[in-house]
């Protein structure tokens, strides 16, 4: 095979999952979670992640998930004792000290909460990415995430404050830096993913989406989102292959509006079908283009606990992997 045709190779994900099977797993999970007042949810979540990954195939081999419900439960318990209980106690103390000055107490709690979020959110995000990637493998080789919390705190604090000060104009730069952090610290075995994008390339499209927001009743947001995905993908590479996304704003608009309608009219029970729609969208529009050079990759698994993952369950933040 010559170099030119290798560059044109498109490698896509194939998803073999079935909405009915996922619905069955979720129904059993629901019953067990209810009768155990939520305790089973950790095992249930693990089952779903395991199913979703095992149904996702790349180049003839399926992904595998190695996490356990027990790890998630332990992580959650630790996070609850280390963060939530002290936080609740501190909040109570603030209100008791403030006596009848409820406005002062509310202000103190809000400001303290805001500051804490700026630092805790990066902690949760990094911990969650580290845990989930370390428990995911393909062809026996584990993924890993090696980003440091302190680096993300800098990006997050700077990005949040500048976005506020510039009334949102800095946001595309912030989004790009967050994405860069996630991708360029992700590894498959010993090899890392690369990203060479720059926020300034998204500034004009973002500005256009702001200007067109009200005239299009917010619908132009889908076109910006699709453009952003395409840009991020095109600047992400692994070894000699580059990612690409052919999803358009119209594809995304159809997907999201259809999903929302299905969920509302099925009172939430239609979620498995939504997930299948999403996986189909991904496998139809996302690809890794070029030659896959796997021969120089070796196992380089990282030891990670589920502590931050447990905290993520409490505060309901998605680590960005949507599994």
């Amino acid at each position: 095979m010559n170099g030119e045709s290798a560059a044109l190779q498109k490698h896509r994900l194939a998803f073999h999952g079935n909405a009915g099977t996922l619905f069955g797993i979720r129904t059993v999970n629901l019953l067990l979670t209810m009768v155990t007042l939520g305790v089973y949810s950790f095992w249930g979540k693990t089952r779903i992640r395991s199913y979703m990954l095992s149904q996702t195939e790349f180049e003839g081999d399926r992904f595998a998930y190695h996490g356990t419900g027990k790890e998630l439960f332990k992580g959650w318990t630790k996070a609850f004792c280390v963060f939530i209980l002290p936080l609740a106690l501190l909040t109570g103390i603030v209100y008791v000290i403030s006596g009848n000055n409820e406005e002062i107490a509310n202000a103190v709690v809000s400001v303290a909460g805001g500051i804490a979020t700026l630092f805790v959110y990066p902690l949760i995000l990094v911990g969650s990415l580290r845990y989930r990637l370390s428990r995911t493998s393909w062809r026996g080789i584990r993924f890993s995430f090696r980003g440091q919390v302190r680096d993300l705190v800098k990006i997050f604090v700077k990005g949040s404050l500048l976005s506020m000060i510039t009334l949102g104009l800095y946001y595309p730069y912030f989004q790009t830096q967050m994405y860069a952090f996630k991708v360029s610290n992700a590894y498959f075995g010993s090899k890392k993913f690369e990203f060479d994008g720059d926020g300034r390339d998204l500034f004009k499209p973002f500005l256009l989406s702001l200007l067109l927001f009200f005239p299009t009743f917010g619908m132009y947001g889908f076109w910006y989102e699709a453009k952003k995905q395409a840009y991020f993908s095109s600047r992400t590479s692994f070894s000699t292959a580059k990612f690409s996304s052919t999803m358009t704003g119209w594809d995304l608009a159809k997907h999201v509006s259809g999903s929302v309608l299905i969920l509302i009219f099925t009172l939430g029970m239609g979620l498995p079908w939504i997930i299948m729609r999403k996986m189909r969208l991904l496998s139809n529009h996302a690809s890794l283009d070029g030659e896959l050079a796997l021969t120089d990759i070796v196992q380089d698994a990282q030891k990670v606990s589920a502590f931050s993952e447990g905290f993520e369950s409490i505060v309901d933040i998605d680590g960005g992997l949507d599994l």
């Binding site: 073999h16 079935n18 099977t21 619905f23 069955g24 129904t27 059993v28 629901l30 019953l31 979670t33 209810m34 009768v35 007042l37 939520g38 949810s41 950790f42 249930g44 979540k45 395991s50 199913y51 095992s54 149904q55 003839g60 081999d61 399926r62 595998a64 190695h66 493998s137 393909w138 062809r139 026996g140 080789i141 075995g189 999903s259 929302v260 969920l263 509302i264 099925t266 009172l267 939430g268 029970m269 239609g270 979620l271 939504i274 796997l294 021969t295 990759i297 070796v298 196992q299 698994a301 993520e312 369950s313 309901d316 998605d318």
Partner: protein, 372 residues
């Protein structure tokens, strides 16, 4: 003896590199042997193996060994699992049985029924019983604090009607009703709000807000007495406190059921939750209607006064489509009137408690005219 195939084709991953090695698997009674293309062999004892994929039809089978360095075998032939179970019966507990897969739809169906039964027991049985028990154990002082907080948020001082004649009349009606509730832990206060809203609210702890719009809608003071009797019963029966406890219990149930609430699924659950919460609310309105009528009569007011007030509000309510029945927090007025008509004949019709004459009331009810 079951006939089985030896030399099962498979792919082997050594856990060190992503290389896919084509191998053959030979099954023995206590172990399997992996035979590579170059003839070298690796033995896996069954005690060290776990199955991690291949639980669903069409899915490749995956066996793994090891923790830090995990080796894996991927087998595409679906008969492999049955063969493995027959060669090594001791491994049955660790290996999926394809013949039991056909039970999965039944398991899903039973789980689904289980969920419905569990939710029905909790929603129809446990939550009402728990909230009834708990509501009467919430100190009246806490309820009063909550009610006062709601008033300070809802009613600015400029909108509180200070007209002396109105306050005296309204307080006389209140006293006539409340003297028939000697066991009540609440100190009832009626506040007239200068707002065109045609409504009245019972707040926890004893405060009743009556809006000027509603006062102007009444034809006689006895009709207002009917409305106040209804609101007093909401407070006496701790409906708002029960509603807060019901809503918290339902939210807890939904949070426990969903674990981490996916934000999109939450849309669907919110819809279910709202529909469920409305059912509780309608039952409370009915209870307040019936007990309010009883209190009205006991206090010497003609019970038909309340029915005539409801009828005056009926026209607007009737214009709503019938499917709104499920969306309203109160039953349709026509339904409320019908239910009250069934029991009104049990109560004496005469007026024993006189408040104002019709002409006096016509003037008085406009004294707290709605301020925009």
């Amino acid at each position: 003896m079951l006939h089985y195939k030896n030399d099962w084709p498979a792919f082997y991953f050594d856990g060190q590199t992503p290389q896919r090695q084509k191998v053959k698997i030979r099954l023995y009674t206590s172990s399997l042997v992996i035979v590579k293309d170059d003839g070298s062999q690796i033995k896996w004892d069954y005690g060290s193996i776990r199955q991690t994929q291949g639980f669903y039809a069409g899915e490749t089978i995956r066996l793994e060994r090891g923790e830090d360095i995990t080796e894996a075998l991927v087998i595409e032939e679906p008969d492999f699992l049955s063969a493995l179970r027959s060669v090594a019966p001791g491994i049955s507990q660790k290996i999926d049985s394809p013949s039991l897969r056909k039970l999965r739809p039944s398991l899903m169906f039973v789980s689904g029924i289980g969920v419905i039964v569990f939710v029905a027991i909790v929603y129809l049985g446990f939550i009402p019983a728990f909230t009834s028990w708990a509501a009467y154990r919430v100190p009246a002082k806490w309820e009063k604090g909550l009610g006062e907080k709601i008033v300070s948020d809802l009613v600015p001082d400029s909108k509180k009607c200070e007209d002396k004649k109105v306050r005296n009349t309204v307080n006389r009606i209140r006293d006539a009703l409340v003297k028939n509730l000697p066991q009540s832990p609440y100190e009832f206060k009626v506040m007239v709000v200068q707002d065109p809203l045609v409504n009245a609210f019972a707040l926890p702890g004893g405060i009743i807000l009556v809006y000027a719009g509603l006062m102007e809608q009444t034809k006689t003071p006895e009709e207002l007495a009917g409305v106040l009797a209804h609101e007093v019963q909401h407070i006496e029966r701790r409906h708002t406190t029960k509603r807060i406890l019901q809503h918290s219990s339902m939210r807890f149930l939904l949070a426990a059921a969903t674990g981490k609430a996916e934000s999109l699924a939450q849309l669907g659950f919110d819809a279910a939750y709202l529909l469920g919460a409305m059912r509780y609310s309608r039952a409370q309105e009915q209870e307040a209607d019936i007990l309010g009528l009883k209190l009205l009569s006991k206090s010497g007011f003609p019970p038909r006064a309340y029915i005539s007030f409801l009828k005056s509000m009926q026209k607007e309510d009737d214009s709503l489509p019938s499917y709104f029945k499920y969306l309203l927090t109160h039953p349709r007025i026509s339904e409320r009137v019908r239910k009250l008509e069934e029991i009104v004949s049990l109560y004496p019709a005469e007026t024993q408690t006189k408040v104002n004459s019709g002409a006096e009331w016509k003037k008085l009810k406009k004294a707290c005219h709605a301020v925009k």
